[in-house]
């Protein structure tokens, strides 16, 4: 593993189903983030975590939950998917401890379609 990996690459999901998007980083960064990217709206922050054991709400947190049990993993869960959650989801991390929090490293994204 090098950098940030996300899984799955893409997924088609029926509305009402539960889904967890996985994110793992091997850079030992303490801060991690989830963004969604929709055409014409740029990237919007869903949830973030400054360090293992803590999480916070971003701009669009409704319908999503996260956990940060350890430094490397930051899964995003959709408890009951709705079509408006169709989007491309990006996980990112930054080395907040060194002060380089503006340089976020992004994963390749997960394309999610909710029908």
């Amino acid at each position: 593993i090098a950098g940030i990996t996300q899984a799955p690459t893409s997924q088609i999901l029926a509305a009402g189903r539960r889904m967890t998007l996985r994110c793992t980083q091997d850079m030992r960064h303490n801060a991690m983030y989830w963004y969604r990217q929709d055409l014409g709206l740029g990237l919007r922050l869903i949830h973030y975590s400054n360090t293992a054991g803590t999480t916070g709400k971003g701009e669009v947190p409704d319908g999503y939950s996260v956990s940060r049990a350890n430094t490397d993993d930051f899964p995003l869960t959709l408890a009951s998917a709705v079509p408006s959650q169709t989007s491309v989801y990006f996980c990112a991390s930054s080395d907040w401890a060194s002060g380089n929090y503006n340089e976020q490293f992004f994963g390749p994204g997960t394309r999610l379609t909710v029908l």
């Binding site: 973030y48 400054n50 971003g58 992004f106």
Partner: protein, 114 residues
């Protein structure tokens, strides 16, 4: 609404020319302003940032200018190359605290013509 916005959705330039991508922001309290590049099918990639107490910062072939009077940010790319074709996003540290995530603008698609 979005605090960070862009003047033009698409910018087309000739290979070898300089490119200027503009961005307007509304929150004077942001401590940092950042530029990201996103190539097709990939996640965004950090280019350069500038602190709010600076007017100009230079990197490799890129320069970021910050005009706090008119709340304007620009990214200048010198001698554009085909590899510069991408969507460019400006972002700001709107939430404060640094590690609490960034607020992104909607993006400008830079097209390099041969």
């Amino acid at each position: 609404g979005e605090s960070v916005g862009l003047h033009l959705p698409t910018l087309s330039v000739q290979e070898g020319d300089n490119s200027i991508i503009n961005c307007a922001y509304s929150n004077s309290a942001s401590d940092y302003f950042i530029w990201y590049k996103q190539e097709s099918g990939k996640g965004p990639q950090f280019i350069i940032d500038i602190r709010s107490n600076m007017d100009k910062r230079q990197g490799q072939r890129v320069t970021v200018l910050l005009n706090k009077t008119v709340k304007h940010l620009s990214l200048q790319i010198a001698a554009t190359q085909p590899g510069d074709s991408a969507v460019y996003f400006c972002a700001e540290d709107l939430r404060g605290g640094g590690a609490d995530g960034l607020t992104f603008g909607k993006g400008t698609h830079l097209i390099i013509q041969p």
